[in-house]
C-alpha cells in the first residue's frame, strides 16, 4: 500500500499543518476532508508573539528550505501513532538535516538584512556560504529543496561515505567565515548608527527570526544564532550512532492492525507538533475524527486514501505517504 504524491513538498504557501476531518461509521472512515495550510491563517496572530519558538514556527512554513522540520514533525507523529521508534542513526541524521535547514535559513535572512542596508559584499559571501549547505542537502537527499528525505520510520537512506568528515571540515571553515562576517557587522555598526529601522510590515515580510526591529540588531542576533548552530552541529556529527536508518511502515505486516491512534505531541527546536483525536467513534453513529499533523500540503491524496479504511489503520495510510518530488528537482 503506497501512495506517491508528485507535488513539491516545500511550497511555502500551502505548507503547514494538515487537517483531516473524517466521518467514521462503525470504525471505518466513511468520508474524509483534508484541509491544507490552515496554520497560515494563524500566522498574523502569531507574529505578534515575542517568543523565538513562534518565529521559528513561522519560518518553518514560510521558507522553502525549512521543509525538513515539517517532515520531521510529521514523521514523528506517525511513528508515535504507529508505536514505532525510528533507528538511532536515523534520528541523528534527522537532527543533522534539520540543523542544516535552520542554518540555511539564517544565512538567507542575514543576506537579506545586509541587502536592505545596501551592503552587498557580505550578502554575496553569505549566499556563497549557503551554497555549501545546499550542497550538503544534495549529498544527503539528492535534491536541494524538495527533500522527501525524512519519512515515517526513519530517513530514506544513509549518508554517504566521507560525508561526516566533509561536514567537519565545513564547520571549521565556517568559523573563519564568521570572523569575516563579524568584521562586516562591526563596520556596519560604526558607519550606520541608527539607520534602517523597520516597520512591522518589513519585519513580517522577511520572516524575521527576532523581535529586533533594527537591521543591525537582527544581524547581530542572527550571527549569534549561526555561531550556536554550527557549534551544535559539530557536536552532533560525532554522536551519530551506527546501524540502519529506516523501518518500513508502509507494509501491512509492518504494523499491527489492532493498534489504535493515540494523542501525540512532540517538540523540536521549540516547534511543536501535535496529533489529537477529537470525538469518539461509536459503532454506527457518525463521529468526527480530527487529526492534526505538522505536515505538508503534499498530502493531497489523503482524503481519497482514507475513505473506507479502518480508523486504526489511518497511521498506516499516513506512513505510506511519500512526499517526494525528487524527480522534479533533478
Amino acid at each position: 500500500m503506497s501512495w506517491v504524491t508528485v507535488f513539491g513538498v516545500c511550497d511555502p504557501a500551502p505548507g503547514g499543518p494538515l487537517l483531516i476531518e473524517a466521518d467514521v461509521r462503525g470504525g471505518t472512515v466513511h468520508e474524509a476532508r483534508v484541509q491544507f495550510g490552515f496554520a497560515q491563517r494563524k500566522i498574523l496572530e502569531r507574529i505578534s508573539s515575542r517568543r523565538w519558538s513562534d518565529h521559528l514556527f513561522l519560518m518553518a512554513h514560510l521558507r522553502p528550505d525549512a521543509a525538513p522540520i515539517g517532515e520531521l514533525l510529521f514523521s514523528e507523529a506517525v511513528e508515535s501513532a504507529s508505536v514505532v521508534d525510528a533507528p538511532l542513526r536515523a534520528r541523528g541524521i534527522r537532527q543533522l538535516i534539520a540543523r542544516f535547514s535552520e542554518l540555511s535559513l539564517l544565512l538567507a535572512n542575514l543576506a537579506s538584512c545586509f541587502e536592505q542596508v545596501g551592503f552587498t559584499p557580505p550578502k554575496f559571501l553569505l549566499i556563497r556560504m549557503r551554497e555549501e549547505i545546499l550542497d550538503f542537502f544534495e549529498l544527503m537527499t539528492g535534491s536541494r529543496y524538495a527533500f522527501g528525505f525524512i519519512r515515517p520510520g526513519g530517513v530514506r537512506w544513509d549518508v554517504s561515505e566521507g560525508f561526516l568528515s566533509r561536514v567537519e571540515t565545513w564547520a571549521e571553515d565556517f568559523e573563519s567565515h564568521m570572523e569575516l562576517i563579524r568584521d562586516f557587522v562591526t563596520l556596519l555598526h560604526r558607519t550606520t548608527p541608527g539607520v534602517a529601522e523597520l516597520g512591522r510590515l518589513s519585519f513580517w515580510k522577511d520572516s524575521c527570526t527576532t523581535t529586533e526591529t533594527s537591521v543591525l540588531g537582527r544581524i547581530i542576533h542572527m550571527v549569534e544564532c549561526l555561531e550556536k548552530g554550527v557549534a551544535i552541529q559539530k557536536r552532533e556529527i560525532g554522536g551519530l550512532a551506527p546501524g540502519g536508518v529506516l523501518i518500513h511502515l508502509d507494509h501491512p505486516e509492518g504494523m499491527d492492525a489492532d493498534r489504535s491512534l493515540t494523542p501525540f505531541s512532540t517538540e523540536y527546536l521549540g516547534l511543536r507538533g501535535s496529533w489529537k483525536l477529537s470525538g469518539q467513534g461509536s459503532s454506527e453513529a457518525l463521529a468526527g475524527l480530527v487529526l492534526r499533523t505538522p505536515s505538508h500540503g503534499a498530502a493531497q491524496w489523503v482524503a481519497e486514501a482514507c475513505r473506507g479504511v479502518r480508523v486504526d489503520q489511518m497511521g498506516l495510510i499516513l506512513a505510506s505517504l511519500d512526499f517526494s518530488a525528487l524527480e522534479i528537482d533533478q
Binding site: 507535488f7 513539491g8 516545500c10 511550497d11 511555502p12 504557501a13 500551502p14 491544507f36 495550510g37 514560510l62 521558507r63 522553502p64 528550505d65 538567507a108 543576506a111 554575496f124 549566499i127 556563497r128 549557503r130 551554497e131 545546499l134 536541494r144 529543496y145 524538495a146 500540503g297 503534499a298 493531497q300 518530488a325 522534479i328 528537482d329
Partner: protein, 136 residues
C-alpha cells in the same frame, strides 16, 4: 566565452518574487555560478529590463500587475517563466485557494524553465538560450 559571444548585448532582467525559484536565481548570481559573467544583470527598475522573469504561480492580482510591468518594458520584451508553479500553477490549482492564470494568456513567452525549483544551472541555461535567440 569567445569574442563572438561578447558582441551579444547584455540582458537586464527583472524577476517577480517567489520563494523557492527566487532563492535559486539568487544562488545563480552567487560567485559559484556567476550569472553576470554571461552578461546577465538583475535590475530593480522595470523600465531598464530586457527580460521579465516570472517565478511562482500567478494569481489574478499578480497577473494584472505583471501586465502593467510588461508594458513598461522597452521593446522587444522577453519573458522567461521558471518553475513548476509559474509554468503550470504547481500545487495551487489543486488547493482551490487561488485561481491560477496561465502566463501564456497574458503575453508571449520566450522560454519555459522546468523544475521545482529549477537549479541555478537551468536558470543559466535559460539565459544563455535567450541570448542566442536575441542575437540570432
Amino acid at each position: 566565452m569567445n569574442l563572438t559571444d561578447l558582441k551579444t548585448p547584455a540582458l537586464h532582467y527583472f524577476s517577480s518574487p517567489a520563494m523557492c525559484c527566487a532563492n535559486e536565481l539568487v544562488q545563480a548570481e552567487s560567485s559559484r555560478y556567476d550569472l553576470e559573467r554571461l552578461g546577465c544583470y538583475r535590475t530593480t527598475t522595470i523600465e531598464d529590463a530586457d527580460v521579465l522573469v516570472i517565478l511562482g504561480a500567478l494569481t489574478e492580482s499578480i497577473a494584472q500587475e505583471l501586465v502593467v510591468l510588461y508594458h513598461k518594458m522597452p521593446k522587444p520584451q522577453r519573458v522567461i517563466v521558471a518553475g513548476t508553479c509559474g509554468c503550470g500553477g504547481g500545487l495551487f490549482p489543486f488547493l482551490g485557494q487561488q485561481t491560477f492564470v496561465d502566463p501564456k494568456s497574458l503575453f508571449p513567452i520566450d522560454l519555459y524553465v522546468p523544475g521545482c525549483p529549477p537549479r541555478p544551472e537551468a536558470m543559466i541555461r535559460a539565459f544563455v538560450d535567450l541570448k542566442s535567440k536575441v542575437s540570432s
